[in-house]
């Protein structure tokens, strides 16, 4: 009896040890960014310490010195929200078609969607620049909402397609027997079932758009009121000229990452459920 208890205890200790290992691995750089955000500029060049020698909130004051950063947060929030909603609507439509409907050209279209991930963003930058200008979106958040689907849509479509394909076929057959049209089956029966998957892919799309830099820099940099967070951070200038304002950047990193972590915490149960059904059948 006692031996069995010891074995269980050992197992628990091992498990928590592994959990701690994963936590340290994931969080140590984040912790380092946190500590750095309270350090002074001159401390950057001294031997590294685990805690600031003299903690300062100056870096945070710099981040919030005027409304630029708050505006950037607002821009990022609405651009990312609009991008993820669009990715979910267009993506779930396409995924339903590719995952559940019978028509010619299905496999080709799956490759067509995937082909959007086969070139670096730099390849299409000047082409997109022309299109954004012709649409009249240059210098506004709309330029990003139009261009971000190039990386949010393929992932959304593929994950949701595999999710739809994993649902049992009886669901639709019952609906068709009851006289529902295919679109009614989709909207009233299949879509509610995919709610968790929508939350997951929506969140992933949100994070991708929140973090995007190249398009945001090229399409919104000329208009300070349309800048997103990564662009605003890149335009920080240090307290001393010629020097990277690294502590300020880390303070800003804290401000932008914590909302995302809270978002993940709120949705975390849904996230895992969301991808669960999708993984049943690749």
């Amino acid at each position: 009896m006692a031996r069995k208890q010891y074995a269980r205890l050992a197992q628990q200790v091992l498990l928590y040890g592994l959990v701690l290992l994963v936590a340290v691995y994931a969080l140590f750089p984040f912790y380092w960014a946190f500590v750095t955000s309270f350090k002074t500029e001159s401390e950057m060049f001294k031997s590294a310490t685990y805690l600031p020698r003299e903690a300062t909130t100056k870096n945070y004051e710099y981040v919030f010195r005027d409304n630029t950063f708050i505006d950037a947060l607002k821009n990022s929030a609405w651009v990312s929200a609009a991008t993820s909603i669009f990715a979910l609507v267009a993506g779930s439509f396409a995924a339903y078609a590719l995952g559940r409907l019978r028509f010619k050209g299905r496999v080709v279209l799956l490759y067509v969607v995937l082909s959007m991930t086969m070139f670096p963003a730099i390849s299409i930058l000047s082409g997109l620049y022309t299109i954004v200008r012709e649409l009249g979106f240059f210098g506004t958040g709309l330029s990003l909402i139009v261009t971000y689907p190039v990386f949010t849509l393929p992932f959304t479509v593929w994950v949701l397609t595999s999710f739809f394909r994993g649902l049992p076929a009886e669901i639709e057959q019952a609906a068709i027997v009851d006289g529902a049209t295919p679109f009614q089956t989709f909207r009233l029966i299949l879509l509610p079932l995919t709610a968790p998957a929508l939350v997951t892919t929506g969140l992933l799309a949100f994070v991708q758009s929140w973090n995007e830099y190249l398009f945001a820099l090229n399409f919104t940099a000329t208009n300070p009121s349309a800048q997103t967070v990564p662009v605003a951070i890149a335009q920080f200038s240090g307290q001393f000229s010629e020097q990277e304002p690294i502590a300020e950047i880390m303070a800003a990193a804290m401000v932008v990452t914590i909302p995302l972590v809270v978002l993940v915490l709120i949705f975390q149960n849904r996230i895992v459920e969301g991808l669960t059904a999708g993984a049943v059948k690749g």
Partner: protein
């Protein structure tokens, strides 16, 4: 219309609808050609006189391709043709054709409505920019043609919707219904595909055949495949090693690598540079040289980076997923913690790692290793060429293993726990359970995660750009440097096209091997 030929049951309403549909189709094609003919750039090229300028005249074909391209032209003509064909076939009164006509009209309305919104937005926005009042007369005249199209389209659409059963006959099949629904549902995604992927990529392809310069005013000219020739040409020569004493051993550098003779002077003058030497026995080696050694090296670097970092992410991601999948207190919070590295924007996390990897004891990694006594002097993680790729791999694995872990965690959750119980009753060891239950059932989840991660890693940009600048190039940063620093738009475009072809081949083989599309 040839009304005498009319099929039995055809009514005048149908003939009217048929005529309007064909008219819309014809109009679309005519308007497209009118737009091409009236285009400013094309007009400028047509009226080009060498007398007023000594510069080379622009190529009309090139300007047409730049402004309109093949994809847009084909799509316009195809949609025109679609309306004409549907209109023609409507006369027979078949209900299937009528359903397709309905789809055509619906998307015509959506297209006209989008055009109206876009034009209105542009006029209002530019008025706001100039702090002027919106000129509603101008607004109205700009959108009136589209308003007319919208009104006609919407009327026809509602009318057809209400009367389709009454006017048309024939059997509609389930497959037909599903096909139409599928295309309806795919149009938004395909529109985005054309607008932000296919069309820009097409322009890149066109520019890759020219000598266009970035932000330059010179008129670009076609140069054929010259850019591709310069990028891809390579040759293999045999060279011998350098010897300070004849018949002695080969000379070596401080790090132990052999010093090889360089290739022929004549070849160097032609632009060939040796990328690497492969020893082939004796004191000889095969020297692989290319006209653009940087590019071939960038491909090599990127592939090495991709293979090792994706493998590392898979292993660490699987480990993380399995730990987080076990039962313990605070599991929910751990899932959020696990995602932290992925949630930090790459531009910032690359800076963070740059800070942690500083080549003095101000960098925490060097400090830890020095304190542990693992190294005697700080390492130059970012500037020592032999440490650069390993460093990039470490940072990338840290950042993206959580993404992998999230996808794999989902796969782990659906493995029924009774499978494991049955296996342990049979006395299977944990290792055996992992290889005979976990891995096979996780395969589909692994496949999707691997495809997206591999394609992402092959396109790595932010990380290399922030950490190494020009010191160590990935395919994407080489492309960027050629475009922005060297201003060679045509050449950079050829690089983009080659990267695209390279990654497509990779992706196709991958998807086939992992059998995800079936």
């Amino acid at each position: 219309m040839e009304t005498n030929n009319q099929a039995p049951g055809t009514r005048p309403e149908i003939l009217l609808l048929s005529a309007v549909m064909m008219l819309i189709g014809a109009l679309a094609i005519v308007l497209f050609f009118a737009a091409v003919a009236n285009d400013e750039a094309i007009q400028l090229a047509l009226n080009w006189t060498t007398a007023e300028d000594d510069a080379r005249p622009p190529s009309l074909l090139l300007i047409y391709l730049e402004r309109f391209g093949i994809i847009i032209s084909v799509l316009f003509i195809l949609s025109g043709a679609f309306f004409i064909t549907i209109g023609w076939r409507l006369r027979r009164g078949n209900i299937r054709v009528a359903h397709w006509a309905r789809i055509g009209l619906l998307w015509l309305c959506i297209g006209a409505a989008s055009y109206i919104l876009l034009t209105a937005f542009n006029i209002i926005n530019s008025a706001a920019m100039d702090r002027e009042a919106v000129d509603f007369g101008q607004l109205l005249s700009a959108i009136s043609p589209a308003l007319v199209v919208l009104a006609i389209g919407f009327l026809l659409w509602t009318w057809l919707n209400n009367n389709i059963e009454r006017l048309f006959s024939g059997e509609d099949s389930l497959i037909g219904r599903e096909t139409r629904l599928a295309w309806n549902l795919l149009i938004p995604t395909l529109t985005i595909f054309v607008l932000v992927a296919a069309r820009p990529l097409e322009q890149t392809f066109i520019r890759s055949l020219t000598d266009k310069r970035f932000a330059g005013s010179a008129v670009p000219q076609f140069v054929g495949l010259e850019n591709y020739y310069n990028l891809l040409t390579f040759r293999i020569d045999t060279v011998t090693c350098r010897k300070s004493i004849s018949d002695g051993p080969c000379d070596t550098r401080a790090n132990g690598s052999i010093r090889w003779e360089s290739i022929d002077r004549e070849l160097l003058r032609e632009g060939y540079r040796t990328i690497f030497n492969v020893p082939i026995g004796g004191d000889q080696s095969a020297a692989i040289s290319g006209l653009d050694d940087d590019f071939i090296e960038a491909i090599f670097t990127t592939v090495v980076f991709t293979v090792i970092s994706v493998a590392g992410e898979l292993i660490i991601g699987l480990f993380m997923a399995m730990v987080v999948n076990s039962k313990f207190r605070g599991r929910g919070a751990m899932r959020a913690v696990m995602l932290v590295p992925w949630a930090i924007p790459t531009v910032i996390s690359a800076r963070l790692w740059e800070l942690m990897l500083k080549d003095t004891s101000a960098g925490i990694f060097n400090k830890i290793l020095l304190d542990l006594g693992a190294i005697d002097a700080p390492l130059a993680w970012l500037s020592d060429p032999s440490l650069q790729i390993p460093t990039a791999i470490i940072v990338d694995v840290w950042k993206t293993a959580p993404f992998m872990a999230l996808l794999l965690l989902a796969g782990l959750q659906v493995i029924p726990s009774d499978l494991y119980e049955a296996a342990s009753v049979d006395g299977a060891s944990p290792v055996r359970r992992f290889f005979s239950i976990t891995l096979p059932l996780l395969r589909p989840a692994i496949a999707i995660a691997l495809i997206f991660r591999t394609l992402d890693a092959l396109r790595v940009f932010d990380l290399f750009n922030v950490l190494f600048g020009r010191q160590q190039l990935s395919m994407a940063t080489y492309n960027f440097e050629t475009l922005v620093s060297n201003q060679l738009d045509g050449y950079a475009s050829a690089i983009s096209v080659i990267i695209f072809i390279f990654i497509s081949i990779f992706a196709f083989i991958y998807v086939r091997l992992l059998q995800v599309e079936s």
